[in-house]
């Protein structure tokens, strides 16, 4: 029975290719699977009794596993075995008790809470594992095990087997600082919260006393206790405001921290004086509540910022952890960090080249997609230079290393990028502009008021000036932006766009141009089978099964396009560089590759002119007697792109495509997507120049890309967005990441960004209105402390409530992308 065309893989949610019949038994039902890799992972999950995973997970899409088959490839296993080496373990494994070890791993592939559940349960089921806890926020797993019962490599291969990847976690300095900052912020929030509740309770007694009368001895006592409670709030919780205000004053720059510090510090000192001298009013409740509200705003802002904290592991993932060093012909597996210049290393097919060097033996082709975005391998011969971080595809090669560590080309690109980022045009933030005007206005008003009252009634001058400062305290104003940004960022994250820099929502809303890279962004970035044309005596399915058997063990991008059609491998497989592959299957020899190479087997002359059409890359499969089938491979346009582009145009954006590709595929894609502004054959410098030219004409540019060659242009655009499948380096340096690589999310993002700007303006407007209203009353001396406190908290709540509309609204409006077949 043929699989219906619209079937989706039960495990990863991708379309099941026609002509395949992989299924796995889940909940007693045979479910469709797209490839042997998903099948193996699903069967492992079911076999460990963790089938509930499929019920719990929130989206029906996960990343498809990188590995196919139940048994891990030996290359992966060798590398994992290396982690048992104690010299490598000393960086990330600690001995907690004799015989018990603990390690922290970074897990790739976690998408939702169900992944965490699955990982924790699966790891704990391994014999010898004592404890495993996985953190959903930072994707770290803390695992503890008995040293003599299980090896670390076994635990890591167990993680691989359910479709995730574990890497050792080396916290760098910056990340440790972030962690400490976060803990400090939570402690401050706690102190301020507890202090606020206590002083509010005591303030109630004072307010009641002010209305009904209270014995002075109790009033004094309650004031002293309030002082004790407010002191740690001011000196510990509110410390960051004072530090920042002091720093800003030194650089002669008015920020929101200045009036905040004046209000907190002034109100605290005045209340202190009132308590000691038994006169005037106390504002302890306002001080603590003010601090608490502001700290909430800061905390939300910080959390959004910290989501990018995974940058520390970006480079580490690209470079291999192990390398095979050759000394006098003897192979030894060593950690990549121990390599030095002039070492000779052996790089097997499918392995990453550990550092920059020159080929000294062997011919092969190298996949440089990490550097250039070009997915087709480039052939390399003796004396050609190869770059660390790229992947060797076809044959084993010996490489003499020319530079290692920070001298490599990859590290150089990172340095180049820092420069590009400094030159980037900055998006001005409205909140900052408003803040500095506001601060100046408040300070001027307060001094005018105090001067006026000094003339009229010197006794009241101090208290009235203070109440002006407390009433106008920019609590609502400073909450206006962070709450709106946090709400919008959270909503977008649920819809598949991870925002990692603060200015994105603002620059998205003002964007006029959107520029796409072609390979890997508009298209899928790898070859996939678009047509199978069998010759008379064969069916398409037979032909595909034969092709899959021939290509089963190859890591070549062409071979990968066939992997999902079968698991059986042919015998005596031989690859001919740049020509094709041959092998034996059921006593019959087959060849697959360029038409000339393949047809030589059956003594016929077939060339590209005989192919069904001239688009795409055609491969011919022949046996000893006759040709069997033509296969057409193409880099196909992502399915959601055409609709998304239409929506973007309707939003008024100009769409362009920039690509380093110069082939006919460029015009095919441009025509298919109706993009008129196309620049092909562009180097990274050309791309950057094009964007800068647009910017000089006043355009606000969004750049969407995926490769390392896109990084300079990503850094140059006002907003840069990386695809979820992009290289790690591109992702960590982009302002936002499309998690599921769905371009349609951009449409939602732009709509929501515009809405966010509206909400921020409303919030700022409201906060300023409130202040304008309260200011004259306070200046005339009509505002008692409790009125100031009530007014302040109401205006803050209005702002927060308004910001929350950003989450509600977009939930009601379903995103254009969410139409999964369910």
């Amino acid at each position: 029975m043929p699989t219906p065309n619209d079937a989706r893989c039960f495990h990863c949610g991708q379309d099941v290719p026609t002509g395949t019949h992989f299924t796995a038994n889940i909940h007693g039902k045979e479910q469709p699977m797209c490839c042997p890799g998903c099948k193996a992972v699903a069967e492992t999950i079911v076999a460990s009794g963790l089938v509930h995973y499929y019920k719990h997970r929130q989206s029906d899409t996960t990343l498809p596993p990188e590995l196919s088959g139940e048994h891990l490839p030996t290359s992966v296993q060798d590398e994992l075995l290396l982690y048992n080496n104690s010299s490598i373990q000393k960086d990330f494994v600690s001995e907690v008790e004799p015989g018990q070890r603990e390690a922290v791993l970074v897990i790739e592939g976690i998408t939702c809470a169900a992944c965490v559940w699955l990982l924790e349960h699966h790891i704990v089921k391994q014999k010898g594992v004592i404890q495993a806890s996985v953190n959903l926020t930072n994707h770290r797993a803390r695992i503890r095990w008995h040293e003599d019962e299980i090896q670390l490599s076994d635990i890591m291969s167990a993680i691989y087997r359910i479709g995730y990847q574990g890497h050792p976690y080396h916290p760098d300095k910056e990340e440790q600082l972030l962690e400490a900052e976060k803990k400090r912020a939570i402690r401050r929030l706690g102190i301020a919260g507890l202090g606020m509740m206590q002083s509010m309770m005591l303030a109630m007694a004072l307010y009641a006393g002010a209305l009904q009368g209270i014995e002075p001895v109790y009033e004094a006592f309650i004031r002293w206790v309030s002082l004790i409670i407010a002191t740690p709030v001011v000196f510990y919780a509110a410390r960051p405001f004072f530090v920042a205000a002091f720093r800003d004053l030194k650089t002669r720059h008015l920020s929101m921290d200045v009036p905040v510090s004046i209000a907190i510090g002034g109100a605290y000192l005045a209340s202190l004086a009132a308590t000691v001298l038994h006169t005037g009013d106390v504002y302890y409740d306002s001080v603590t509540m003010f601090t608490f509200f502001l700290l909430i705003g800061r905390y939300l802002e910080m959390q959004a910022r910290h989501r990018t904290g995974r940058a520390g592991n970006a480079l580490l993932n690209l470079l291999p952890a192990s390398a095979t060093r050759l000394i006098n012909g003897n192979e030894t597996l060593v950690p990549a960090t121990e390599l030095s210049v002039d070492d000779t290393v052996l790089v097997k097919p499918g392995h990453i080249i550990p550092a920059d060097g020159i080929i000294c033996a062997g011919n092969s082709s190298v996949d440089e997609s990490a550097l250039t975005g070009e997915y087709r391998p480039i052939s390399k011969h003796i004396d050609d230079a190869v770059v660390g971080g790229t992947i060797n595809v076809e044959n084993p090669i010996h490489v003499r290393l020319s530079s290692v560590g920070t001298d490599t080309k990859l590290s150089a690109i990172v340095r180049l990028l820092d420069r590009a980022q400094q030159e980037k045009p900055t998006a001005a933030k409205i909140a900052d502009k408003v803040a500095s005007y506001f601060v100046a206005a408040v300070l001027i008003t307060a001094s005018v008021v105090s001067f006026a009252w000094w003339q009229i009634a010197p006794d009241n001058a101090f208290w009235i000036t203070l109440s002006v400062l407390v009433v106008t305290c920019p609590c609502a104003l400073s909450l206006a932006t962070p709450t709106a940004l946090t709400a919008a960022t959270g909503t977008l994250r649920q819809h598949g766009l991870l925002i990692t820099r603060g200015h994105v929502l603002e620059s998205l809303s003002t964007a006029t141009h959107i520029v796409f890279d072609k390979t890997g962004t508009l298209t899928q970035g790898n070859l996939s089978l678009s047509a199978t044309v069998p010759f008379l005596q064969h069916t398409a399915e037979e032909a595909l099964a034969i092709a899959a058997a021939l290509e089963a063990h190859s890591e070549h991008p062409i071979a990968k396009a066939f992997h999902r059609f079968g698991t059986q491998a042919a015998d005596e497989i031989r690859a001919t560089l740049g020509q094709g592959i041959s092998g034996l299957l059921e006593q019959q020899e087959y060849r697959l590759g360029k038409p000339g190479f393949a047809s030589a087997l059956c003594n016929q002359e077939i060339s590209y002119e005989h192919a069904p059409d001239q688009d795409g890359q055609w491969l011919l499969l022949c046996n000893e007697n006759a040709p069997v089938a033509w296969f057409c491979l193409r880099d196909q346009v992502r399915p959601d792109v055409p609709l998304a582009l239409k929506h973007l145009k309707r939003l008024g954006l100009t769409i362009s495509m920039l690509t380093g590709d110069s082939s006919s595929a460029v015009s095919t894609v441009a025509e298919e997507l109706a993009i008129t502004d196309v620049i092909s054959n562009a180097s990274p410098q050309d791309k950057l120049a094009h964007i800068q030219q647009l910017q000089s004409r006043g355009a606000q540019v969004i750049m969407v890309g995926d490769g390392i060659n896109d990084i300079p242009v990503l850094a140059g655009a006002q907003t840069s967005i990386a695809m979820g499948s992009a290289t790690d380096l591109a992702k960590t340096n982009a302002d936002a990441v499309l998690i599921g690589s769905e371009v349609a999310c951009l449409v939602d993002a732009i709509i929501l960004a515009r809405k966010t700007q509206r909400i921020i303006r409303q919030n700022l407007g409201w906060a300023i209105c409130y202040n304008l209203l309260a200011l004259p009353l306070a200046a005339l001396g009509f505002v008692a402390p409790y009125m100031a406190a009530i007014g302040m908290s109401t205006s803050s709540l209005v702002v927060v409530g308004n910001a929350l509309r950003l989450t509600r609204l977009s939930q009601r409006k379903p995103p254009n992308t969410g139409k999964k077949s369910r």
């Binding site: 509930h52 169900a114 559940w117 349960h121 206790v225």
Partner: protein
């Protein structure tokens, strides 16, 4: 109302105990992952503990 002289300091002492407990839990990593515990409680992996009769009653 002399009782206030006892009760309010008592409240302050209790608050400081709460602050101590809060600091302890932050430093102990209780606030490191605020996302997954909210979900994990909903995952019923206790099917084998539910008696068969009860299971049929569910559906």
């Amino acid at each position: 109302m002399e009782i206030l002289f006892f009760l309010i300091p008592l409240a302050v002492i209790l608050t400081s105990a709460a602050v101590w407990a809060f600091f302890w839990s932050v430093n102990n990593g209780q606030y490191d992952d605020l996302d997954s515990p909210a979900h994990s409680i909903l995952y019923d992996d206790d099917d084998d503990l539910i008696p068969n009769e009860a299971k049929q009653g569910k559906k």
